[in-house]
């Protein structure tokens, strides 16, 4: 068997060494595959970045309560009484003083000017209480200070600062008739909360004519992940028409919004891949034709046709893997960490960054290998069948 493998290895090495003679054809094949892989990875990184931003937003230590069927914080609404009633449910963690740990919040939309196109886009403004700050993990005021209750002051998320104009520390912002001052900038470790403006809940209620109503309640669970006691409490009270979900589940659902983009990316790049496949086949058939006399000579010397087959296949795989790597690196350079924003479930801009994870990288290489494999198979079959008499025919 040693002879068998060393035969194949010899032919593979010779094939690879002969690549420079077909430089342009080979580069064309590499280029085609690299573009296809880069396109795929751009779309996948977009969907993945969005998904991870939202997945990173939710935790199973927190439950979120919305009005039944509302699907998003924006659509939900509930009265002060409802909030007070829910807060008495079992299963909610309690603080040192024995009070339930929860935060009733408002979620209104205001306009901001997007840096990328200078057009208006929706930014969520959350009415929140200091207790609500305690329900966000990794929360940090990175600049300035916390807003003071009762005043028209806001703190802005880092994502808003990145994507929108005019929210820098100290700026005055006008919403309708009222002016608000930016007094701080906060970070939540890249989660979707960073796409929001936060202000004092009672102030938002009065300035946006919301009376005493709220939209959602967040609460800390006694047992992480266990919403069952609260769910039972809600179900047993016909007055409460509410959904109870862990925050992790809530945001995971919203994170699937761009799954369609990933599917679109796959369809598109597989179709483009067919074009690249045509290119790869062209290159490889040309390669077999160019090497016909070499292949035949090797066969005359006593090399098997399997070695000719494998050599051609290896050449094709090498080209496509090189293309796949080039495409993946290009996608990584251009798209990884690229900050963008799109409409989320609450009709507001969610700021997220493209993420090229190792598993996406692997997907890209798999696509490249598939092109190389199919693009090499048929030409390799032809290489295996080059008649040995070709070695005796003249001409360079």
């Amino acid at each position: 068997m040693r002879g068998f493998f060393s035969q194949i290895w010899t032919v593979v090495v010779m094939n690879v060494l002969s690549l420079p003679r077909r430089l342009w054809m080979s580069l064309a094949a590499i280029f085609a595959v690299s573009v296809v892989v880069a396109v795929l990875l751009a779309f996948l990184a977009m969907a993945k970045g969005f998904e991870q931003t939202l997945a990173g937003t939710g935790t199973d230590r927190i439950a979120i309560i919305t009005r039944t069927g509302s699907q998003s914080e924006l659509n939900s609404s509930m009265s002060r009484d409802t909030v007070n009633l829910v807060a008495t449910a079992p299963g909610i963690a309690r603080d040192a003083g024995g009070d339930p740990v929860y935060s009733a919040e408002l979620y209104v939309i205001v306009d901001g000017i997007k840096r990328s196109n200078q057009l208006k886009a929706n930014i969520p403004m959350r009415g929140i209480s200091p207790r609500g700050f305690g329900l966000r993990e990794q929360l940090e005021i990175v600049e300035g200070r916390q807003f003071e209750p009762g005043r028209n002051e806001i703190v802005v998320g880092e994502g808003v600062l990145r994507q929108f104009e005019g929210f820098e520390l100290g700026r005055e912002i006008r919403f309708g008739k009222t002016n608000w001052e930016v007094v701080g900038v906060f970070s939540t470790g890249g989660s979707a909360f960073e796409s929001e403006l936060w202000a004092d809940a009672p102030t938002v209620q009065s300035q946006f004519q919301r009376g005493s109503s709220f939209q959602t309640v967040r609460l800390r669970l006694e047992t992480p992940g266990d919403v069952q006691p609260i769910l039972e409490f809600v179900e047993n009270d016909p007055q409460l028409i509410l959904d109870v979900e862990t925050e992790a589940d809530f945001f995971a659902n919203q994170g699937r919004a761009l799954t369609g983009i990933a599917i679109f990316g796959w369809i598109l790049s597989v179709v483009m891949g067919l074009g690249a496949l045509a290119g790869a086949l062209n290159t490889m058939y040309t390669s077999v034709a160019a090497r016909a006399r070499e292949i035949a000579t090797l066969r005359a010397i006593g090399f098997s046709n399997i070695s000719a087959f494998m050599g051609t296949l290896a050449e094709s795989l090498l080209l496509s893997v090189l293309g796949g790597l080039a495409g993946a690196i290009a996608a990584w350079l251009f798209f990884d960490g690229f900050s963008a924003s799109t409409l989320g479930a609450s009709f507001t801009q969610v700021v997220f960054t493209f993420e090229l994870t190792p598993e996406l990288f692997r997907d890209g290489i798999v696509l490249a290998v598939a092109i190389g494999l199919i693009g090499g198979l048929f030409p390799a079959w032809r290489a295996a069948r080059v008649p040995v008499v070709t070695a005796f025919q003249g001409g360079e």
């Binding site: 280029f31 699907q71 659509n75 929706n122 309708g176 004519q209 067919l274 074009g275 058939y285």
Partner: protein
């Protein structure tokens, strides 16, 4: 062209290579055709927006409400022909995920302002007469299987009735069609009165207004007049032309046209390289023959033209087949029961495709054609 026979023979001498290059071109043009249809559908909201129509929203954001009293005040503004108001209902049918665009409107004025929604006069009268009636666009009706005359329940993910229920019963009075094939028919409209009287949220507010003006030239004056009217009130307004409003709305999703254009460019770039290389190669393989043709008296210019025509033919065959396939894809997408704008593969896509065919054929053919042009007979024949 006396050389047609020779060109065709050259083209088909390696059928496999011809197939592969045509196929690569085909793929790129199919992507081009399909994505351009998508892009035009997204842009339709902007392109089809009426020039004499304005949108009045709350200055804070279009999701903030306005008092209903504003409607009559706007109606009194000079050069305003008609005013209607709309409330986003947050409707979904059976499944919370099956959300769609549903608005509570004042029927009569609504059909005047939005006259691109086509229903018969009888249907119009029937709708106005039926308090629980709604009209649904052709596309949305098809995706949910609604028929005119049917009674359906629709839920709201925002509002609830006074008794706590979140579902309302409606009569489907009419299915409207669009005046233009690309007019959006994914929306549903019902009576504001029915909404206002039954929902529990506190009444007499509206989402936004649609305003028709006498003349697009007068838009600026009307905009200023409306916004002045409500300056320094608790709910200030912002009035914008419908085109601008729709554009900003589409842009909220992201820069779709940049994404689509980049993908199409990438696809074209790939085939440019593949086809160009293949052409150079096939001319190089013919060096000796071209030398022979030159000794026979074919002029260099004639050979140059033959090579160029060959590459143009490849682009033409692949390109036209590709756009035709895109037409097929588009009709498949249109038939699929999903809420997408209607895709139309119009004449403009074919014209653009022809232009790209010419450009592509020229770029891929020019280098090999120049090589053939410059080829010296002696070197051509001595190169064995």
């Amino acid at each position: 062209m006396k050389d047609v026979y020779l060109i065709l023979k050259n083209l088909t001498r390696k059928p496999l290579r011809l197939f592969l290059t045509v196929f690569a071109t085909f793929i790129a043009f199919m992507i081009f055709g399909t994505l351009t249809a998508f892009q035009q559908a997204f842009d339709a909201g902007v392109d089809l927006a009426a020039d004499d129509r304005l949108v009045v929203v709350n200055k804070i954001n279009f999701t903030q409400t306005l008092p209903i009293a504003y409607v009559n005040r706007v109606r009194a503004v000079e050069d305003v022909v008609a005013v209607t108001h709309l409330n986003w209902f947050g409707g979904y049918y059976q499944e919370p995920r099956a959300q769609f665009a549903m608005f509570a409107v004042d029927a009569e004025n609504f059909l005047t302002v939005y006259d691109e929604l086509v229903i018969t006069d009888a249907e119009r009268a029937a709708w106005i007469a039926n308090r629980q009636g709604l009209i649904a666009g052709k596309s949305i009706a098809e995706s949910f299987g609604w028929q005119a005359g049917e009674r359906i329940p629709v839920n709201s993910n925002i509002f609830s009735q006074r008794d706590g229920r979140t579902d309302w019963d409606f009569d489907v009075v009419a299915i409207y069609e669009g005046a233009d094939p690309q007019t959006d028919t994914n929306s549903v409209y019902f009576h504001y009165e029915y909404f206002n009287e039954t929902q529990s949220f506190g009444g007499d507010f509206i989402g936004f207004m649609g305003v028709r003006t006498t003349d697009p030239e007068r838009n600026e004056a009307v905009i200023a007049a409306i916004d002045d009217l409500f300056a320094n009130s608790p709910a200030e307004t912002e009035t914008v032309p419908e085109k601008a409003f729709n554009k900003a709305f589409i842009e909220q999703i992201g820069n779709l046209s940049l994404i689509l254009t980049s993908v199409v460019l990438a696809a074209f770039f790939v085939i440019l390289v593949i086809v160009g290389n293949s052409m150079i190669l096939s001319i190089r393989e013919r060096t000796r023959e071209i030398g022979v043709m030159k000794t026979l008296g074919f002029t260099s210019g004639r050979i140059f033209r033959m090579v160029l025509v060959e590459s143009l033919l490849i682009a033409l065959i692949g390109g036209m087949l590709g756009v035709a396939a895109a037409g097929l894809m588009v009709s498949l997408v249109n038939q699929a029961p999903i809420q997408l704008p209607v895709l139309v593969l119009g004449g403009s896509v074919w014209t653009q495709a022809l232009l790209y065919v010419a450009v592509l054929g020229f770029i891929t053919g020019i280098v090999p054609a120049m090589n053939a042009l410059r080829l010296n007979i002696i070197t051509a024949l001595s190169r064995s």
